[in-house]
Amino acid sequence: MVAEAYRAAVRAGIGGFWELTPWELRIELEAFGERLRYEQESDTVLAYTFALLSRTERLPKLDKLLKGKKAKRNLAEELKAAFKALPEKSEDGG
């Protein structure tokens, strides 16, 4: 099992193998697997987008592509606006 583990660590580019416990190596390999899957998905999306764009007659503007996601709510601004909308406190505390 030691040789198998070492081989897996080398393939995944994990350093300091001999100082890791099997559990730590497992965590690192799982993280490596997740990163690998994310990169594969990114490559697929890129290839798909490229293929899609190469079929369109007019390229959409780059800004439009980059702003594809809905903008996140700005909670700080919303809170500020909510406070501004509150009736001002009168001097006599009422």
Binding site: E4, Y6, A8, W18, E19, T21, P22, E24, G33
Partner: protein, 134 residues
């Protein structure tokens, strides 16, 4: 049982000094070298029979400060707490801070370790050949 459980550490009192046990791949390789291919069986037998010399050897290999087995023997730590510390350290090394799952197979450590290991490596890199010389 203190020490960082995520790092697989367990502390043990040996002759009034606190020794940290941690079974890294280096320690596992050295156990295998010292006790043979079936090192886990040998360790289990040593623990069952309370074989002090073998226990001292395991403590020596597992200690982060590379204690001398003779020094462990000379300090003569209490056997049961020492065995428990070694087992906890081995369990933490293989299964992390929560230790082994409760329901284990007949040969718990070997079976569980082999299962998750094969599943993980097969998922990441494809099946590993059986003659890879573990």
């Amino acid at each position: 049982m203190t020490g960082n459980p995520y790092r697989g550490e367990v502390t043990l009192d040996v002759g009034g000094e606190t020794v940290t046990l941690r079974f890294t791949w280096d320690a596992i390789a050295r156990l295998r070298q010292a006790l043979g291919e079936d090192y886990d069986t040998v360790i289990t037998q040593a623990f069952n029979t309370q074989d002090v010399e073998s226990i001292a050897h395991v403590v020596s290999i597992g200690s982060v400060d590379d204690l001398d087995p003779a020094a462990v023997m000379a300090a003569s730590p209490p056997v049961i707490p020492t065995i428990n510390a070694c087992l906890d350290a081995i369990h933490r090394a293989y299964y992390g801070p929560d230790g082994p799952p409760e329901a284990l197979d007949e040969n718990p450590r070997k079976a569980r370790a082999a299962t998750w290991w094969r599943r993980l490596t097969a998922r990441l890199f494809g099946p590993v050949s059986a003659d890879s010389g573990s």
